[in-house]
Symmetry: D3
Subunit: 279 residues, 6 copies
């Protein structure tokens, strides 16, 4: 695995990558260089044939991430960058829009990654932490997690993905609005009850174990089947039923011709573990 | 605050408006004049710079609202109005369609209101009560609430918004169909479990207190941030992810230029309450 | 009721049809002839004026259905059928796409059926069992049910509807991805918690009783109102709010002219059971 | 017909209304009061049972309309109105957005009008003139017409409908971008060639005659059929084919039950002019 | 080729089928049995590996088709069929909707046919003739053609596809509305000018020759490439750009693996006619 | 301007960039390195504040571009690249899909470029030449141009954008299908008639002159207005009317606050050329 400045990436098990946000002394707070690197990490993993499942967590005991590093943002953030260029409102707006789109693109790399991503959250998980986690496929947390859609408290509507994705990953719209408008902190049990996370474990270690177990399970299956399932579910989320069925049929017209089907079926009959060609 | 015939509107706290459906002797049942006035109330609050959060409840002990006043409807409802005009099925259909659209528009004013709306429901909350509440942003109820999507029991499919919005505010489609097809009564605990409401309180007073606390919290925050969050969440509900991200970027290209960001950040550092310019 | 080879269809109560998948010796596993017949059954019930509510269950003690009959599929499935025709990848893909579309169409007949469908699941309910049940309107199960989105374990992404419909019938996207990617078994309590089913009963008999009770309730109501409600909810699931409201207005411009409204209202006043003309 | 301050409305033939923009001394340039009144005019005609076709033209010899009255706008336009309220960019943006939406709504009233609108353009037809004409159903012009999408020349992207509707009423996207980006003037022949107008006549009088002839033709037909055709074509423009076919089926399920079908068929056989009930 | 009651189907050249509407003594007017058979014809051709291009024309000298056989419709049409069943407006509406959907499905079979369809129109081409021709891929006509969207003249809005498809096959919306609202007759030159047809020939024989020449050209090309092009263009018509590009990529991920690419390229180099495997 | 390997980029006038595809000895045929560089060119121009309008043409006398360099593709194209990796159909499909998406992204950079792009085509303009030109905003050609959607002749459906964009830039769907299915050559006059190009000039030099004149015109206008117009027209092409109007209102809520409006208006009054701040 390549070395990164802000992320630890290792391979705890065959075909499983573990990505850690690695700035624990600052509660894993993000500044621009970090989200650019996040995209680099996930774009690489997306194409790596040695990876079939990914765990994403935050280094240290205290936080998945506290979100945007507000201090850094106040010194070198978008408003500062635009400030020097023009005082014209419309020109600033163009600069901000470009900046937001690039920021969104970096975070979206977690969602666009072809491999399933399991996000493990503990401790402080604020603002950008939610933007990132809503891009993951499966969300797991520890009991001590403190979630907050924090952006309104710094005077802005969250624009890096939370407001776009939260209503699509949690069905209870009243709850989505409650936490997004109030910026209040909520914990793991509440997150499980409304379906934001799938599992709450006792502590970070247990949550990571659960994620590893799950990642192993996914990594042992046909990568054609697993990655196709991710793609088709993401397509379904955004499309009408008829369009989703049509896309599915075309997708599988190639995918079903894989040898994985025969291998998987034979292994099922023989009760052996199938081995699948790299992808 | 202006005086209305069928609604009590007052200001229980700074920047907080409380709207009460005020026909308790008839279980707050609605007739045409009332939904026309409802629109007037919310269109006005939407633009009032003195309002940053709205509570909507029903006056009296017995009902948020029993829904359409069936007696009034049978005397001066759409079918009666159309009856005198023409016997031609297609001409009647045109009249009915116009009437339904106007009725829908009135109720949609609660959703289109730029300020967040917290709906507090108690006692009987039937039919039109659900149409209205699905337009609100956050739903709260008391334990004694009796909800029912009542329309099938008077021989029609609900057409003022419940069938359009309920599948978008609750994720469990089997439950949505169960209550919409059966017209059965369900209570607060069930509503909480499926995510229709965010909070169930012991009684109406406690529910109103909770709503007031929440409204105060929202009213103290940047109105640019809060109202932007409402707008972007409603946009996300109806649009594909890519379109939602694009819209968000454009929205914030102006919104982020507000002085609220600096005020909010400074207050956060100084641990003071920020004050925001009127909106 | 007509006689079918693979399905038992009877009338346990007036206006209520009960369809049983009837191949219990093979855990109600499906092969091609069966899904073609499934469509025949539901297309017929959709138009029958003697039917106002439908229960769908699996015969025998052990399974709603174990899904695709893998043995049959390996002998006469799509891959076998295409194998003899051409070795050209693109030509095979065309054949597979046609086959998948026809298969999807057969299963979609449950959703397109104009009458509400209550699906009762017990025992093994794997793969195609979920494709079918996501087409139903209301899902009920017994405690002993074992659900699994099994397809990844045979090397493919589910393509007969589960991946397209599951995100639309359950709001918790993390859970949807968890079970779809892992193929793990989950039970009734979990299904109820996430909203996949509306009721969990102690055993199959109790679940069938519950379904019958519910079907009777629906069958006694105005068929214009009930069937319109199904149609409008399905439309709402797939469309933007504004489009859904517009469609609803046009739908009801004819539907409200029914005599059922008057009958239902009169019965409500007189506390009698209304009788509605056939549909 | 009611009297209006800025519009002449008369009835040149049975069931035909003629609306003239009536500020010829100012080239029919628009200021706020006028577009508010425009909406009033078309909302009224939309519901009037005495009107089955509408002609929209500009009074005087020189212009359909020169568009926005720039002088008035510079004194009492949105920027002026917002200027006094707040210097906060985001607050101004909210004010502008509200203003633009209201302006758009006024112009859209021409499109939402249930009756077909034939727009006759002559002389100067700039800016807002195109916004309005793209809302009409049929566009006719005289040879002397001078069209221009003028907004870029005053430093802004047209926001009252031209940029949203022009690509939907003319298929040649290269041409649409050419005239919208360059603000160049184009004439009637070019407008006919690309399909923006359906007819070019020698002069304003001839164009009005053509419009009247066409309006008479439409006014003699079944209003159920004509108004349904307008509605269904507008729906088709904005929707996928499958959704459009579905909506059409529901629409006609009521509309076909009209007596107009029988009347029209009988008249066809008898070679008489059918008379249709008011709508 | 199979024999049909109302259609002549023969093979004028290898891989080319010619379908003629064959009721010339009645101007090829359609009644229910005919559109059911039309679907049978095109569903069969769609799957026939001996067919790569289809010509659709009308037998006799006088008409492609005069549209619906109004006399037959007045005796056994939907209104007559529904008349006997119920007087309830809503129940009639359900019956009509079912009927319209079935009728639409039959006509849509021309569009859903996987092979390109070239429609040759001459003489009278009214009403249903346009519904059918808008489903074809390429439209050709003779100079003597008389087109009319005739439905408003029998008191109804066209509901079998013209209003849904015409705005999608012709860009000039003003023209589309003009001919759809007025029901006026238009000829070949006008149809060419607005882009409704691609070619106008001197007479029916010349038009058929042109169609045959074109069909031969298409039939000699790779069927994988030709049929994929039809599918992708139809998908593009109904979808956003991003969705269309995504679908295209998935489609070609299988299609490009065909041997046709190599065969086509080699033939290009060798200047020989390629031969492609059946599809 | 930066130097590129395959493209000449210069500045023929203030704020105007001219990009030439520069491989004339090979008819400007493209291989992979070139489309990667094309994206680099347009991504750079998109952000350059010295550029307000872009001309794209092909170097040399003979061709805008002959499209894909088939010889290069047969040696190092996607099929060759995938050939060595796996024989599994599904794995090849994944590789092809990734390759096509990257290819599409490169070409789409012309469309995503924030500045208007005027495409000047002469001589041979085949295959990829059309993919590229459909991304441009305004299309101009010389009389000697030879256009062809050439892909079916090498056994594949065009997948780099032509099939997705051509139906959105030309309204005549019969013509779009004719040229896409037949791969026949068509010239400038035909392209003008159907609206594919906006201007046909006598020869390449004249076409370039026309483009330069147009580019100069655009470059002198407010860049806020011009670039906003491009963005809003592209948004309108892909969205429903209501969504387009909503997006437009939000866009202009920032854009209208520019000083360009005042500068443009003043210059209009004073008959001087306005100067606008860089963007």
């Amino acid at each position: 695995m390549a070395a990164y400045k802000h992320f630890l990436v290792d391979t705890p098990a065959p075909f499983v990558a573990h990505v850690q946000i690695n700035r624990p002394q600052k509660l894993n707070a993000f500044y621009e260089e970090m989200w650019l690197e996040l995209k680099e990490v996930f774009d690489t993993l997306s194409l790596s044939s040695d990876v079939r499942a990914i765990i994403l967590s935050g280094a240290g005991d205290r936080a998945f991430t506290s979100g945007l590093d507000v201090q850094a943002a106040s010194q070198q953030g978008v408003l500062q960058q635009e400030a020097g260029k023009s005082n014209d409102v419309a020109r600033k707006a163009v600069g901000i829009k470009r900046h937001v789109q690039e920021f969104q693109d970096c975070i979206s790399s977690v969602e666009k990654c072809e491999k399933p991503v399991i996000c493990v959250m503990h401790g402080i998980t604020f603002g950008l932490g939610l933007d990132i986690s809503t891009c993951a496929d499966i969300r797991i947390c520890s009991k001590d997690v403190k979630f907050a859609v924090k952006e309104v408290d710094i005077g802005l509507a969250a624009d890096i993905g939370t407001l776009s994705r939260l209503p699509k990953v949690v069905g209870a719209f009243s709850w989505v609005k409650d936490v997004s408008l109030s910026a209040r902190i909520f914990g793991g049990e509440e997150a499980l009850r409304v379906g934001f996370v799938s599992y709450v474990l006792d502590n970070k270690a247990a949550a990571l174990n659960k994620a590893l177990e799950l990642a192993n399970l996914l990594a042992e299956k046909s990568p054609i089947a697993v990655q196709g399932t991710k793609e088709l579910l993401n397509h379904a989320r955004d499309n009408k039923l008829a369009d989703s069925l049509r896309y599915t049929g075309v997708w599988n017209s190639a995918a079903i011709q894989t040898s994985d089907v025969e291998r998987a079926m034979l292994s099922g009959l023989k009760k052996t573990k199938p081995r699948f060609e790299k992808l």
